[in-house]
Each structure stands twice: as structure tokens, then as C-alpha cells.
């Protein structure tokens, strides 16, 4: 496991302090920082301003794959073992819609989870963590070299951090 990078870690109790700090960091040219929060929060997400997650594409392509798989599987297996049941056509599309629908949902759901795991891994933000960030505090970690740490520390404190500490990587 790679070690955490060095930088400044700040804890906030107030949402507006945290969004103010994020705004100030962006204005100062910092983009590579991590924001920890106990819940997903609209204001924080807006302040961080990420693009919409690409997980939705996994859902779409997973669902379409399920649909095609459902159709191909039912039709191919029906003709591969061609036996008339109940006087119905060998390949009866209407009852097969049930299988196609279920596989659309199943593949869509599973690929959503795979997409989530993949993107969470790809955009993994290393950095120190504090148990308060899953409880009632918002955390901001700014990785930065030693010479820039005093300026960042001052910026985060000015926004209203309850605690700011230097993390040595």
C-alpha cells in the first residue's frame, strides 16, 4: 500500500466554512485536494464541482448487454433444442420478454456496481483520515510540499477550521 502524501489536514464543523475553504483553495490554484464528509452534501459537491460520474454509462451498457443476452440466449437455446411446447412457436418472443427484462435489470445493476468499484478505485484519493469525518465533521486534505504548507494552513484556518494539522507523508 502506498504511503499517504504529505500535506495539511483540516477539520470543519460548519458546512459554510468548508465550502468557503474549498472556494479559497480553488481560487489559489489547488485542485488536487480531498474532501471528507459523513453524508453526501449538495453544497459540498457543488463547491468541489466534479463532472457527473461515468457510472451511469456502466448502467446503460450493462442493461443493453443484458437485453441482448436475454434475447440471444432464449432464441438460440430454443432453436438448439427445438421442441414444440403447448403448440407455441419454437422461438416465442412474448414469453421471452420476461427473461430479457430480468437480464436487463440484472446486468444493469451488476455493471453499475462494477463501474462504481472501478471508478472509486481509479479516482482513489490517498491521504490521512480521521474518524470524525464519518461522524460529524467535514475534512479537507491538501497535499502540498513543505514550502507551501504555511500558506495553505493559513487559508484553511481563515475559513473557520476547528483543527488544522500538518501531515508528514
Amino acid at each position: 500500500m502506498k504511503a499517504s502524501p504529505g500535506g495539511i489536514l483540516a477539520a470543519y464543523r460548519h458546512i459554510d466554512s468548508a465550502t468557503e475553504a474549498i472556494g479559497a483553495l480553488k481560487k489559489s490554484g489547488y485542485d488536487d485536494f480531498t474532501v471528507y464528509s459523513p453524508t453526501p452534501n449538495e453544497e459540498l459537491l457543488e463547491a468541489v464541482a466534479h463532472r457527473v460520474s461515468p457510472v451511469r454509462l456502466w448502467t446503460l451498457f450493462g442493461g443493453l448487454t443484458g437485453l441482448v443476452t436475454g434475447f440471444a440466449m432464449t432464441m438460440w437455446m430454443s432453436y438448439d433444442y427445438a421442441i414444440v411446447v403447448g403448440g407455441k412457436p419454437i422461438g416465442s418472443v412474448i414469453p421471452y420478454i420476461i427473461i430479457m427484462f430480468e437480464l436487463t435489470i440484472l446486468f444493469g445493476a451488476l455493471s453499475t456496481l462494477v463501474g462504481l468499484a472501478f471508478h472509486a478505485w481509479r479516482t482513489n484519493q490517498r491521504g490521512p483520515f480521521d474518524g470524525r469525518f464519518s461522524d460529524d465533521h467535514i475534512g479537507i486534505f491538501v497535499p502540498c510540499p513543505v514550502e507551501r504548507r504555511p500558506a495553505v494552513e493559513q487559508l484553511l484556518t481563515a475559513a473557520g477550521a476547528t483543527e488544522v494539522k500538518v501531515e508528514i507523508g
Partner: protein
């Protein structure tokens, strides 16, 4: 997640974020003697059920009370009952999530867990019913030496796909919702629980990137789960509706079954939440307002079910079909009149009490009503399945089915199986969502304070 409605429904003495974590964490660990006693009781009942199943496997299906033409009995009744129970969980967690309904946050976890355990219970019954359960894998389309494939026109195969998908998706939904909560508990826990939660939290730290992907994934899973809820019980209803048995062959079966499923599921959610709220001292989070909202849902679905009963009888009369008319007359006044009237009174008349606000806000009354609704819904399935089969077309082919002790023991074992999982879950994982309850509490502001 991320965009639930504003906190209109929170009580005046609003808990803080720290209160939520502390109060929910307090429900985990340190089980009492009462808990172990209850767990021992359900495991004993489960063992009796397992014993009865082993006896049936040893002796054959003849030990069940099947009497031609009634070859679907308690097992299929109980299968449909448990699949129905499973429906309200996803309704509360997925559909109400998409509607941004804030009140669901305190109750949805219990409903979701109930869904998963109910599907696990339901899935056992088709296997028990077919007898040789070790051949269950024949339902899966797998390559084999004889080049045989499953019959995709068979409702049994539809069930396998529908219920299998429902089980996987609802389990994923439950686990996904649990991850941030487990992380919150992890940061408070000690000892072996800390290790357990560290592993099961999957390195969750609540970073902006994690929330970014998580909220999207949760939204799309909810969007996928919503039509799935409607489809699964529709597919189960088609097990009956595609046949020509009088009392089954009706176009209203899918909506009728879906409404009935949600009705019974909401009733069991109420049944579970009432003791849970008292034992875990969760009155601050699961309030009377929550029960009132659940009872409104019960009232709505109860009215739909009651309407479906009326429509069934109307169609039997209006169709002019002699067999349909005879079948429905037999339901109400034949050998099984007691089952039909239990169903009608519990499901058709009892929900009318919920029109009164005082009853909707009276917890003991709701507990009694929810228990009767569950009883009525089990009998609804019994009436649809057993009574219809016992009275088909030819008088010489009519028969009377009485369940045997083996079937009652397996039925009891299924309840014990369900409650065993629920008890284990309730003491080891948060039954109230920490993250989502926090979401409806506004974060403190420097300027306001």
C-alpha cells in the same frame, strides 16, 4: 442519496450528527439474555422445520397433504406469501427514494433487510415443493451432454429468473446502502467488531470522489430496482394467470398481486419496527409520523386489494362463465369458506379502520392490524391456490386438501429461518440508516450559530 427532501419531518428536538452515530452504534453489540433466548427459540423452531424437511426427503412428497387435484398446497402458498413480503422493502427503499420522500430514511434499512431475508425464505419453497431439491440446478440453462435447454415458456423458469434477479439486486442495494454506515460504526467500534467493520466497510472514507460515484450508483440501482419490484410479483402472478384454472385465469392478476405484495410487506415492516423501536430505544428516529405514513401506505394498498376482491367476484358473475361462477361461489360458501372469510375480513374490511387518524397513530392498534393483515394475506394465497385447484371443472375430479404436520412444521420453520436472519442482522448491522438520517438533518452553519 445526496438529494433527499428538506427536513420537514424531523422532530423539534432534532438530533445532531454525533447523536445519530452514537444512538445507532448503541444498538449493536452486547446482546442481552432476552436476545439469546429469542434466538435460541427461533433456532429450535427452525430445527423442527429442518427435521420435517429431512423426513419429507426420506419418505417422499406423499407425507405432504397433496390430494389430486390439489397438487399445490402450503408450500406454494408460503412461497407466494414470502415473495409478497419481500416487496415493500424495495418499494420503501427504491421507489420512495426516487420520490425524494424524506420519511423513508429511518425505516428503509429494516424494510430492505426484511426484503432480502424474505426472498431467501421464499426461494426455498419451490425447491421443497418439487421434492428432489438436489436437482434444483436443472432450472438453470447450463450446457449438458444431452444438449437439453430449459423451457423458457415455463412460468417456473420465469420465476427462477425473476426471483434470482430480485434477490441479487435487493442484496446489492442493501449492501451498498450499508457501506457508509459500516464505516461510521467502524470508526467507533473496538475489538473484533472493529476488524469486522474495517473489512466490510471496503475502505470507505467518505471522500468527494467516493460520494460522487456512490450517489450516482445508488440512484441508478434505485431506478433499476423500481420496475423490478413491479415485475417480480407480476411474474409470480402469471404462474397462475397463464393457466386455465377457474379463479386464476384473470387479467387483473398482475396488479392485484403487486398491490397485495406491497400490502403484506408494509404490514410486516410495521410488525418488525414496533418491537425494534422499543428494544433499541429508537423513538427519537422512528416516530409516530413514520407509522402514520406506513399505515397510509397500508390503507392505500389495502383498498386496492379490497377492490380487486370485488372485481374478481364481479368478473365471475359478469362473464357468464359457469365454472368461474361456481368457483367463486365455492370460495365463499364451500368447504373452505372459513379461509375465504378470514381473507376478506383481514384484508378487505380491517384496513378501513386506518381511515381514522387516531388508529393510524395508535401503535398497539397498528401492531394488531398488521398481524391480522399478514394472517389474511397468507390465507389469500391459500384461497387462490388451494381452493381454486380443489374445485375445477369436473365434479369427479374435485378433491379436498388438508395440510399435514410436515407442512405446518416446514411453514413454521420458514418463519424461524426469516427471524433468525433478522435477529442476527439487527444486532450486528445498523437497522436505521446513519447516513440517510443525517442527510435530513441540516449541517451546522457558522453564520446561523
Amino acid at each position: 442519496m445526496a438529494t433527499t427532501a428538506p427536513p420537514d419531518s424531523m422532530p423539534a428536538s432534532q438530533p445532531t450528527y454525533a447523536d445519530v452515530t452514537r444512538d445507532v452504534a448503541a444498538t449493536l453489540g452486547n446482546p442481552t439474555k432476552g436476545y439469546y433466548g429469542l434466538l435460541a427459540f427461533v433456532i429450535t423452531i427452525l430445527l423442527i422445520g429442518v427435521g420435517a424437511l429431512l423426513y419429507q426427503i426420506r419418505m417422499g412428497l406423499g407425507v405432504a397433504g397433496y390430494t389430486p387435484p390439489v397438487m399445490w398446497g402450503v408450500y406454494i402458498t408460503t412461497f407466494v406469501f414470502w415473495v409478497g413480503i419481500a416487496h415493500s422493502g424495495t418499494l420503501i427503499s427504491a421507489i420512495l427514494f426516487l420520490f425524494r420522500s424524506a420519511w423513508r430514511t429511518a425505516v428503509y434499512r429494516t424494510a430492505e433487510a426484511m426484503t432480502v431475508f424474505a426472498v431467501m425464505t421464499a426461494g426455498l419453497f419451490p425447491l421443497i415443493h418439487v421434492g428432489r431439491l438436489w436437482y434444483a440446478y436443472w432450472l438453470i440453462p447450463y450446457p449438458n451432454q444431452r444438449g437439453l435447454w430449459v423451457n423458457f415458456k415455463s412460468p417456473l423458469v420465469w420465476d427462477m429468473f425473476a426471483i434470482g434477479t430480485y434477490f441479487i439486486v435487493s442484496t446489492c442495494f442493501l449492501i451498498l446502502g450499508l457501506i457508509p454506515d459500516i464505516a461510521a460504526i467502524r470508526d467507533k467500534a473496538t475489538g473484533w467488531r472493529k476488524k469486522l467493520y474495517t473489512i466490510t466497510a471496503l475502505n470507505w472514507r467518505g471522500t468527494d470522489q467516493q460520494w460522487r460515484h456512490y450517489t450516482r450508483a445508488y440512484l441508478y440501482l434505485a431506478a433499476l430496482a423500481t420496475p423490478l419490484v413491479l415485475s417480480v410479483h407480476s411474474v409470480v402472478s402469471w404462474d397462475f394467470a397463464v393457466s386455465i384454472v377457474p379463479g386464476w385465469h384473470a387479467t387483473i392478476f398482475a396488479p392485484y398481486f403487486v398491490a397485495g405484495a406491497i400490502y403484506s410487506g408494509v404490514a410486516l415492516v410495521i410488525t418488525l419496527l414496533i418491537p425494534l423501536r422499543i428494544v433499541f430505544r429508537m423513538e427519537r428516529y422512528i416516530t409516530t409520523d413514520h407509522f402514520e405514513n406506513l399505515s397510509k401506505l397500508l390503507l392505500l394498498t389495502g383498498m386496492i386489494v379490497g377492490y380487486a376482491y370485488v372485481v374478481e367476484y364481479f368478473m365471475a358473475w359478469y362473464s357468464g362463465n359457469t365454472f368461474e361462477r361456481a368457483s367463486f361461489w365455492n370460495r365463499a360458501f364451500g368447504d373452505y369458506w372459513w379461509a375465504t372469510w378470514t381473507m376478506i375480513i383481514c384484508n378487505g374490511f380491517l384496513p378501513f379502520l386506518l381511515w381514522f387518524k387516531k388508529i393510524r397513530r395508535c401503535i398497539p392498534a397498528l401492531l394488531v392490524i398488521s398481524l391480522f393483515v399478514n394472517l389474511g394475506m397468507w390465507f389469500e394465497r391459500f384461497v387462490i391456490i388451494v381452493v381454486s385447484l380443489s374445485f375445477e371443472y369436473e365434479p369427479y375430479a374435485m378433491g379436498h386438501y388438508t395440510p399435514t404436520w410436515v407442512e405446518w412444521a416446514i411453514l413454521s420453520g420458514s418463519f424461524a429461518w426469516f427471524f433468525m436472519w433478522f435477529l442476527l442482522f439487527a444486532k450486528n448491522f445498523p437497522t436505521v440508516s446513519i447516513t440517510e438520517v443525517k442527510e435530513i438533518i441540516p449541517m451546522p452553519r457558522k453564520r446561523a450559530s
